[in-house]
């Protein structure tokens, strides 16, 4: 195994593109080292991204959004008051990943690239409309986060491609987001179901919404029908019931040791309602 410390993402992508065997990009390492340890993969080349300038930065974009470098840890996001104020749902999703120790290292980009349908940070990013900056041998491209996962453990990234940063859009006026997951304990578990809602209010009515669900399909899914169920409403009981029904209808979960398909379809409706109400309350707080 060769260990590389490139000084730019272009150099990182070139190393990966030129490698003949298995490669792994290393940011937080909380998935890569577990794979190594389990013997799932023994990379010939490990490409450590942490010496690339800007990779640990949370920076305002010119339009008022946020650019989160590929090696920013969950703990660093949790401590960033302005980021948390704009995108509490994204931050709370990331901060649910693993223990305090894992939070010291684990990253948004890594959680996304691990390709788990149950990844806690991904529904929040998808609901927010986050974009991944992908660097590869063919140059840079911007990809909607929902287009990165391809299925359990798989992504749409091409050989040699690496995520340099995640960009969240400007929060704008009267917006709020929230992520909730169900686990049978209080901490240190993998989502049985996850639901994220991001919305904007115009007065008391929802003017825009995005709804994303985790652990109820082969990958995290964006559900436009669920968003449509609440746009134009005041999130009254009828709207919430329609939201829950749309989420349940969009869910195509499996039954496994952590929950049955029937349970997941039911719980996703419960969580999405609750997340919508939290997002609304946060939007109202932001509107003041």
């Amino acid at each position: 195994m060769r260990y590389h410390r490139p000084a730019s993402f272009e150099e990182a992508a070139a190393i990966a593109a030129g490698a003949s065997g298995a490669t792994r990009f290393l940011a937080g390492g909380t998935d890569v080292l577990v794979q190594l340890r389990a013997g799932m993969v023994m990379p010939d080349d490990v490409i450590d991204l942490k010496l690339i300038p800007g990779v640990k930065e949370i920076a305002r974009t010119a339009d008022g959004g946020w650019r989160i470098g590929a090696a920013v840890s969950g703990a660093e996001m949790g401590r960033h008051a302005a980021l948390r104020a704009d995108w509490p749902g994204v931050v709370e999703g990331m901060c649910l990943v693993g223990s305090t120790q894992v939070q010291g290292r684990a990253t948004l980009a890594g959680n996304l690239c691990n390709g788990s349908p149950a990844a806690d940070s991904v529904p929040g990013m998808v609901a927010a409309g986050a974009v991944a900056t992908v660097v590869g041998p063919a140059g840079r491209r911007e990809v909607a986060v929902e287009d990165i996962p391809a299925g359990p453990g798989r992504t749409t990234l091409k050989p040699g491609e690496v995520i340099a940063a995640i960009t969240l859009p400007p929060r704008g006026r009267a917006g709020g987001d929230a992520y909730l997951r169900f686990i049978p304990r209080t901490e240190m578990d993998i989502a049985v179901v996850g639901a994220a809602v991001n919305l904007r209010l115009d007065g008391d009515r929802v003017s825009e919404a995005r709804v994303a669900l985790g652990a109820v399909a082969p990958k995290v899914i964006l559900v436009p029908a669920a968003a449509a169920a609440i746009v134009g409403t005041t999130l009254d009981e009828a709207a919430l019931a329609a939201l829950a029904a749309a989420a349940t209808a969009a869910a195509t979960p499996i039954s496994d040791k952590r929950g049955t398909a029937e349970f997941r379809k039911d719980v996703v409706g419960v969580l999405v309602r609750r997340a919508a109400l939290i997002a609304r309350d946060r939007a109202k707080g932001a509107a003041k």
Partner: protein, 159 residues
């Protein structure tokens, strides 16, 4: 396999070692630096027995490559006592019988010290969440929580 030369600071002392790039920081601490206080429980970041500080950040040393330590500052359980004088957390763990087999204890002490630096007066719930990544199969945790609370109270009084 080419080994890489790594220089770092461990508990305030400059150290150097040769690391196979596949080795974890935990392997390097234990096998190259003879610092065997950090334990390997699971090797996959679930149990916290290998907890150390890396540039002040609490991490599982089994989830860090040894070669990543180049130029970094590492603190382990071996640096916790001041010579023969135990850290208040260590003393309170003994007084409260907050350990039985002791395998998880170094990791829990390192993690608890990091908590009290960030939050000198944590609630029971905050302590339990902070230490959720440190598994103990002996104590049932209650004595650990009480020991951390006792140490925190003493340390607040001392400041």
């Amino acid at each position: 396999m080419t080994k890489l030369h790594v220089t770092a600071t461990v508990n305030g002392d400059p150290v150097e070692f040769l690391a196979d790039p596949r080795e974890s920081l935990l392997d390097c601490l234990r096998d190259h630096l003879d610092l065997t206080g950090s334990k390997e429980g699971c090797g996959t970041g679930d149990c916290g027995a290998c907890s150390v500080r890396l540039d002040g950040v609490l991490v599982c040393s089994c989830l860090v490559l040894g070669v990543e330590a180049e130029g970094r500052r590492i603190e382990t359980i071996e640096g916790m006592a001041n010579g023969a004088e135990l850290h208040p957390l260590q003393r309170k763990f003994i007084e409260n019988a907050a350990l039985q087999c002791g395998f998880c204890t170094p990791g829990i002490l390192v993690a608890a010290k990091a908590l009290l630096e960030e939050n000198p007066d944590p609630t029971e719930s905050e302590i339990r969440y902070w230490l959720a990544g440190n598994l103990c199969r002996c104590t049932g945790y209650d004595k650990i929580i009480r020991a951390v609370q006792d140490a925190a109270a003493e340390m607040r009084g001392a400041n």
